[in-house]
Symmetry: C2
Subunit: 325 residues, 2 copies
């Protein structure tokens, strides 16, 4: 928002950053009663496909035009978000959602990806069973026909893989989020990087929310433990929370990111882009867990393209050429 | 909170109101560096079992003592809330939750009572199926053993009653909330008052949240329509939203209240008390719907005490004596 039509190098830099991130931009000239934008500016911005709106905020002038510009500029995904689960479960079919209740589960609630999955299934005319990992076997036994998909919290992956018949597909909420909000192929490549980790390597564990970690926290305790066990030695693990992302990304051998359930797609993709620029592989919680527990193939079962990519890269790596970037 | 130890008739009146509502009270003497409470006051308050804390808020003094007093004064239900559903579904058993997706359902979400029910079932080592009313019949067909309970949004009561085998108990989220947050017996009495409504009677529809009503709103369109159909004529229906409750309660023949899912038990019980004081029957949305649709007996099936009360009052009413107050 530019007051009184001032425009300079600073504004140009912001706009370039927006273009680079492919973020839609609206330029709002506020206090337009005190000064209008320079003659050629509006024309130049329109050529760059940037919407311009003039407002006088303290009188409410132009606010409706601004709202309309916001709706027009909103990316398609705001209107029709890519689906998280409904394309994997046909109408009239059943999914089973495995929801462990650990110490960090807020009282009386379900976490956002669980609610989102239930709602998407209902919106898609399918339905679901919601069950803890301990009751999963009984719940599956109770069905005349098996579900088309079992989705679990990553923390219960091993037990769920054991209790679900091999012909039933399983995946995790975290992998569903990776597909919906991130770039599944880049995460697959990130998981492969776990294979190359050596004791002493630097790993950044990044969490979107700044929750208060308690005993057995997934990002601080469980994932570091599984990674160490897989690598067979100590790792130099750093943990961050919230919106800051370090500048020395290139100094890490791997970034492990949470599902970013409370973020929008753009925010996570921006981080993935920064990792690609820094040449550091990034993986998410669920895929890291599936990889270190040795059930990566099964967890990618519902996503044949990603599974194919993984198998190809794995074969290339085995031949010593490493995954393509 | 009383600054500098001032205490007068105003404070006494507030305290009396608290005692009358059986609300625990803590008296905080703030600015206690500028003035302490009068000599006899502390002693008098302690005799009334009122906790007293002295603080200097701008220096943070006494804040820890205040927090401790809050925890001590918190009612038992804050620590161990009465259960909404888990006592009706034994460990290892299955409940089916019917969740219609209407135009007012916020995108990507489930409403609070639905989430609360799912979570309580998981906490109680049971599990659930979540399904729209349209897929309910298929979902039940898919089971080898029927569920022990079907809970529906009140709006789908008739269809759910039709699609659920007669030996399976059904109720609504609204009735579960009535039991957990209100007084089921008083609501049963309120439902009976629907029987005595005459065309032209005044009905107050009260909603806790101030959401933006749209087409076919339950409180503004559906319940008034069902009530009119049951009574067989026009009613004088008033609608209120939020925390204000009218002073002329006695001028209504019936109050119909929403489930108050976003309120605590005290707030709803306070309203029920005010209705009792004004001599006006109060019923909630789900029980009103069940009553006007003629499935009240079945909806009370899971609650034998309430069902017995209802049948007794109904029998008394049939003999012309009306329900006991």
């Amino acid at each position: 928002m530019v007051a009184g039509g001032d425009w300079g190098e600073f504004e140009d830099a912001i706009l370039r950053e927006f273009h680079q991130r492919k973020a839609p931009a609206i330029v709002v000239f506020n206090k337009s009663d005190l000064g209008r934008p320079a003659a050629g500016l509006g024309e130049r911005l329109r050529k760059e496909k940037v919407s311009c709106v003039e407002t006088v905020a303290n009188r409410g002038e132009g606010v409706l035009a601004l709202r309309e510009a916001l709706v027009r500029a909103a990316p398609e995904e705001f209107i029709n978000a890519p689906s998280m689960i409904s394309d994997l479960v046909p109408p009239g079919e059943l999914a089973v959602l495995v929801v462990p209740i650990d110490k960090e589960a807020p009282k009386g609630r379900l976490i956002q990806p669980q609610v989102q999955a239930i709602r998407e299934l209902l919106d898609g005319d399918s339905y679901c069973m919601v069950v803890k990992e301990r009751e999963l076997r009984d719940a599956l036994e109770r069905l005349k026909r098996p579900p088309v998909l079992v989705v679990t919290d990553s923390q219960a992956f091993l037990k769920v893989a054991g209790d679900t018949p091999p012909d039933v597909k399983i995946t995790s909420f975290s992998i569903l989020l990776a597909r919906q909000k991130g770039d599944l192929a880049q995460f697959v490549q990130g998981a492969l990087a776990i294979e190359g980790l050596k004791p002493g390597d630097r790993v950044l564990v990044a969490e979107a929310c700044s929750h208060h970690p308690i005993t057995d926290d997934i990002g601080r305790v469980k994932i570091p433990r599984w990674l160490r066990q897989y690598v067979g030695g100590a790792l130099d693990i750093h943990t961050i929370q919230g919106h800051d992302f370090p500048d020395d990304l290139a100094s890490y051998q791997l970034v492990v990111h949470c599902g970013a359930c409370m973020w929008n797609r753009r925010e996570l993709l921006t981080r993935m882009l920064r990792c690609r620029q820094a040449g550091v592989p990034i993986c998410n919680y669920g895929m890291t867990i599936a990889y270190t527990l040795g059930i990566f193939d099964r967890a990618l079962g519902p996503f044949p393209d990603a599974l194919e990519t993984y198998r190809r890269w794995k074969a290339e790596r085995a031949k010593g050429s490493g995954p393509a970037s």
